[in-house]
Symmetry: C2
Subunit: 191 residues, 2 copies
Amino acid sequence: MARDPQKTRDLILSTALRLFVEKGYFASSIHDIRHAAGLSIGSIYHHFDSKESIASAIYDDLLGRMTSLVEDASGSHMTAKAKCRAIISALFSMHETDPLIVHFVLHARHREFLPDAPPICSTRPFELMKQIIEEGIASGEIHPIDSVVAGAILFGGAMRLLHLAGDGVLDKPLGSYLDELFEAGWRGISV
Amino acid sequence: MARDPQKTRDLILSTALRLFVEKGYFASSIHDIRHAAGLSIGSIYHHFDSKESIASAIYDDLLGRMTSLVEDASGSHMTAKAKCRAIISALFSMHETDPLIVHFVLHARHREFLPDAPPICSTRPFELMKQIIEEGIASGEIHPIDSVVAGAILFGGAMRLLHLAGDGVLDKPLGSYLDELFEAGWRGISV
DNA sequence: GTCTATAATTTGATAGAC
DNA sequence: GTCTATCAAATTATAGAC
């Protein structure tokens, strides 16, 4: 039976994403994906050239979503402070609704299975965050320290919490830390 | 020829560590290690039961070093502020001398190839950092916010910089960021 | 477009000589 | 303690029927 090809493709991607996050890319074989998705090897290879191309498609898709998240959060506000807070808030929200996406983009070691992928920190969403920090320094909202340091404090702290949440070691829901986290981070870098 | 067995064992461990960091655990085969170390498969399996046991030995060794680093840095100072700064300074120094160690402990996804390893955040060095933060809160040095948040800001920011340094995307040597980083992080969480 | 069966490699690990 | 030769299993990927 010739099902909707787009549905099949999406099923392969969502199943592979779940397995990649749960067990890791290398510990998830094509046969695992085939079994978990209820498909055949042939169907998978009809839609994708290789296992790596599946990972690549996931990566492109999720990086695009992450870019939109950052652009939307950033574009809805005027000050660097409001933009940064909106980005972190949106990341925390995404972690609640789609933890797999956040985990794969922020914590997977893509270079190990996608050798041609650029370092994650040089991709668009991370460049945008860096740019917002630099604009905040230029406008006088943020202390004139190295933008890398300011970014590490503010977004690095948030990413650390996202990491802990992904490991399941937090007592409370992630969102309940947002206010304290942002207040402390912002106090550290604001003038 | 029966060489010094300890030397051989150390050679296997140091070679494996290098390959695991450069290419990842799964992309480094026993044959790769054999070739890079100039040994034979038989020699490797004489010293270790399995590939996983090599990774396990590396993990135990490096986690021990990291524990000593944190204990030494912490034990040499009285205030939470001085302890935290000494820990981050020592981590940055270790990154300069032994980047592979820092990378493997902080950034490798151990759970993917050592299923029985506890989450890294529940190991001794990380528990010590958390404890120092909590003592700082109790003594009135640190704002009475959630200790997880305070730790994420201070140490998460440092780990973020270590990550960027490991990816080779920093313009300057890591140590040159230390003062600004710690000052900003501490301002964020201190009373 | 989906399926089953199978090919071609690679992998972790073992056997046994020296 | 180290070596070479080899195994058994798993993996990615292909071929060809329906």
